[in-house]
């Protein structure tokens, strides 16, 4: 399978290059934009001594390339430096937050993925019927709404009016799994609603495309029952595109998490980054941005690799 290996290798290489470019971008975005970084951090009223101290601490006197290299080689081994606000190593600040975010995102994904695939499949099979039109309208609404609208709406209904779930998702360290799930019920539901819309629409489009292929008509003309057409002829060809859709949407989900965490005051990466931004804690912002970017770029890369792997033309070369 030389084609397959070559294509995947190419995609991996491109992903790594992208990540490198992204790291440069993050560095430029935070350290090389016009204005003195030390003044940005401390504000206009800072004393010259304080500015000088920060400059020394961040080695702002060094040339940019050297500073980038120092930072980048740290990132490669998981060392992001120390937080300006708390002085603690960023890795220790970041890890529990990352864990919390992944827990929230994974919970949402576990609900959203099967739901979206099922709805997308059914919509494609019942194309243009009432079910399809209804879900299409509903998902259009879902993908149009900002995360904070869905979030506050759920809070208003399920926390304030009904009192079923907490409005604020605090998790005490001693909570068991069930309590944790209960605490993140509303943010997870918000994320689910937002991602299911996109994922379902894209799944539907992928399946509709497969179902309109001539080999599906051929199967029908061979006297193949509908079930067999779907499971034997359509699904093997739709799995690649669907998997691609799922992974792609997981990438969206990771970014959508930021707003949802702020709505529910959930102690995850998103909240951490927003706090860092308001405190102008530059090294922490850089670290958060890089972690989000790695997840996003990595998932996008995975989505492409999945669709390469699913292509029978590449799996069985001439």
């Amino acid at each position: 399978m030389p084609d397959l290996v070559r294509l995947i290798g190419k995609r991996l290489l491109f992903g790594l290059l992208t990540l490198f470019a992204v790291s440069v971008l993050v560095f430029i975005g935070t350290e090389l934009l016009p204005g003195d970084l030390a003044e940005v951090i401390l504000g206009q009223t800072a004393t010259p001594e304080a500015v000088a101290a920060i400059r020394a601490k961040l080695n702002l006197g060094d040339p940019a390339v050297l500073r980038y290299w120092r930072w980048f080689s740290g990132v490669l081994v998981g060392d992001f430096g120390n937080s300006l606000a708390s002085g603690r190593p960023i890795t220790t600040v970041l890890l529990p937050r990352l864990q919390a975010t992944l827990f929230l995102a994974a919970t949402a994904a576990v609900i959203a993925v099967p739901l979206a695939i099922a709805l997308g499949l059914l919509s494609a099979l019942w194309r243009d019927r009432t079910f399809d039109k209804t879900t299409s309208a509903a998902t259009l609404a879902a993908i149009s709404m900002p995360e904070f609208f869905i979030g506050y709406l759920l809070v208003y209904v399920f926390a304030v009016q009904l009192g079923w779930f907490p409005a604020i998702s605090r998790i005490s360290p001693s909570a068991n799994f069930g309590q944790k799930l209960w605490a993140i019920a509303l943010p997870a539901l918000t994320l689910t609603l937002v991602t299911t819309g996109h994922m379902m629409r894209m799944t539907r489009a992928a399946v509709v495309q497969v179902l309109s292929a001539p080999y599906i008509e051929m199967a029908e003309l061979k006297g193949t029952p509908r079930r067999a057409i779907i499971f034997r002829h359509a699904l093997p060809n739709a799995i690649g595109p669907i998997a691609n859709v799922v992974v792609l949407n997981l990438a969206f989900l990771v970014v959508g998490v930021i707003l949802v965490e702020v709505v529910f005051v959930y102690p995850g990466m998103g909240q951490l980054m927003v706090d860092a931004v308001s405190k102008r804690d530059i090294p922490l912002i850089q670290a958060c941005a890089i972690v989000f970017a790695i997840t996003y770029v990595g998932l996008n890369m995975l989505a492409d690799i999945v669709s390469i792997l699913a292509n029978p033309r590449l799996r069985h070369p001439r």
């Binding site: 292929a213 008509e217 006297g223 029952p225 034997r232 033309r313």
Partner: protein
């Protein structure tokens, strides 16, 4: 009677959601072991009728009336279970594009045996044995292992035969062939035709053979039904349709393929275009090898070849779209720059190009006035009233009314769009027009009109044509000189009467012998000649 279709009406919907009649009151009958040809141009409803024989209509269409009976059993409105039982077992279907009709995810043998299994026709091993036997009969290489391949791993001609195997594996009573050889090159087509005919004869199956090519159907069918715009025009024995057609439309169809065009002899004249020893490549892959040809003033040179022969690449080299690796192109005594940027406006003006697909050859968002007017403004600096008058003149020359100037291409038929393309080329007052398969996307009657127009224009203004085509009937109709290409090389060339008459060059002869002729015994003769 095996298949009996009576007063069949099928309606569909167009893009705007309006109902349109696709099949209008068509009746036909096919007896056991008989082959009925359905022939017509695009939009004749022939494929729709073919599918109706399986009780099937495409999404968006529906049966509006009439009946389809198989052995007396009504298929229109029959319950799904009954249709599933019939499809694939008693009536089988062979699609036009086998490459698209085979599922890319499964091996060929699995797809072929699936029909057998679905209809409970016995153990898989027996089906496999029969499939291998059919592979052999249809002349597929290595029949034992052929079925282990995936669809993309075999050639188009082989796939088409594999699809015939898939149709015959259940020993059906009726096979519907839907343009099964249209996507193939002529030299491949002949093998597939012979194999299909032998196979259905051996099984004693009846067939509906849907095609737009009268010469092809003449080899396959006992009787022919001519269709136009969804309605039956004429039904008759194959020989009668070919030799004594009754209806004007059928007469026109028959005469087109006989190539009865007026010709005029070419005279020795000065050379307009000379291609000298051109090598060209796309990236690392060389597609033209040492190609030379010349075109004289007021003459037509036809470049003939199958797909992959490099004939279209040659056009790209001449127009400057693909700079050659070596060799040169001379035009009107000047050496043309290899790439487009190096050519003068005047050089570009004198060398024009007409394309294959009229739909994409003209900008759908410009009016006819803008399309034809642009070269007049660009090359000749015409504006205002003079421009409008000249566009009107040009429309008259391509036999379209003056008020067409305000129309958009979307309001025109394919043939009309092709005329606009021709007018756009004429507007530049060129010396040479390269015609790249200009008739192959058109229905035969329309194509014929376009050829006549081109001939007339040549007589009027002494134009030269470089005619790129895969169709030998077109070559006979229009060329003075012929250049035959195969795999990027010129293998034969000369005056048409020499090249297209015996003694043939090997490949030219093979090409000519592969083109179906409008008589019923052509295929038999060719096969007999080989044996």
């Amino acid at each position: 009677m095996l298949l009996q279709i009576e007063n069949l009406r099928i309606d569909g919907t167009d893009v705007d959601g309006n109902s349109v009649e696709i099949v209008k009151n068509v009746s036909l009958e096919v007896d056991r072991g008989q082959v009925l040809g359905l022939i017509g141009e695009s939009g004749a409803g022939k494929s729709t009728i073919g599918l109706a024989a399986l009780g099937y209509v495409r999404p968006g269409c529906h049966f509006a009336g009439g009946s389809v009976r198989l052995d007396g059993q009504e298929l229109v409105g029959a319950p799904v279970g009954q249709l599933l039982d019939i499809r694939g077992r008693r009536v089988a279907y062979v699609a036009q594009s086998a490459a698209a009709a085979f599922n890319p995810a499964h091996r060929l043998l699995d797809q072929i045996c699936e029909v057998h299994r679905r209809h409970g026709l016995g153990p898989r091993a027996a089906a496999e044995r029969f499939a291998v036997e059919l592979f052999g009969k249809l002349g597929l290489p290595d029949p034992e292992r052929f079925g282990q391949r995936y669809p993309h791993q075999v050639s188009g001609g082989q796939l088409q035969r594999a699809m015939t195997v898939m149709a015959l594996i259940t020993k059906p009573d009726l096979v519907v062939f839907d343009e099964p050889t249209t996507a193939l090159d002529v030299t491949t087509q002949i093998e597939v035709l012979a194999a299909m005919r032998r196979a259905i004869r051996e099984q004693g199956a009846a067939a509906l053979y849907v095609t737009h090519d009268l010469a092809v159907v003449a080899q396959m069918a006992d009787r022919i039904l001519v269709l136009r715009h969804g309605a039956a025009v004429e039904l008759g024995e194959t020989r009668q349709i070919l030799e004594q057609p009754r209806e004007d439309y059928t007469k026109a169809l028959v005469s087109v393929r006989r190539g009865e065009h007026e010709r005029h002899g070419g005279h020795e004249r000065s050379v307009v275009l000379a291609v000298d020893r051109v090598d060209a490549a796309y990236g690392a892959q060389q597609v033209l090898f040492d190609v030379s040809l010349r075109v004289e003033r007021a003459a037509t040179v036809a470049v003939v070849g199958e797909s992959g022969s490099g004939k279209s690449t040659l056009a790209r080299v001449i127009t400057g779209l693909l700079p050659p690796r070596s060799g040169q192109v001379r035009f009107g005594g000047e050496v043309l720059s290899n790439d487009l940027a190096g050519r003068s406006k005047e050089q570009r003006r004198r060398l024009q190009l007409i394309y294959q697909m009229p739909d994409v050859a003209v900008n759908p968002r410009q009016t006819v006035q803008e399309i034809i007017g642009r070269p007049l403004t660009f090359y000749l600096g015409m504006r205002g009233d003079a421009l409008r008058r000249r566009v009107k003149d040009l429309l008259a020359r391509i036999e379209l009314p003056a008020h067409f100037a305000d129309r958009f291409p979307g309001e025109l038929s394919g043939g009309q769009k092709q005329r606009i393309s021709i007018a756009r080329a004429l507007a530049a007052e060129p010396e040479l027009i390269i015609c790249d398969e200009v008739t192959s996307a058109l229905d035969p009657l329309v194509a014929d009109e376009i050829l006549n127009l081109l001939l007339r224009l040549q007589e009027e203004s002494g134009l030269s044509y470089l005619f790129i085509t895969h169709d030998l009937a077109t070559v006979r109709a229009i060329a003075h000189e012929v250049v035959v290409m195969q795999r990027g090389r010129v293998v034969d060339s000369g005056a048409k009467d020499e090249v297209m008459a015996p003694p043939f060059h090997d490949y030219t002869g093979k090409l000519i012998r592969s083109v179906p002729e409008m008589r019923t015994d052509w295929l038999d003769e060719v096969l007999a000649g080989r044996a």
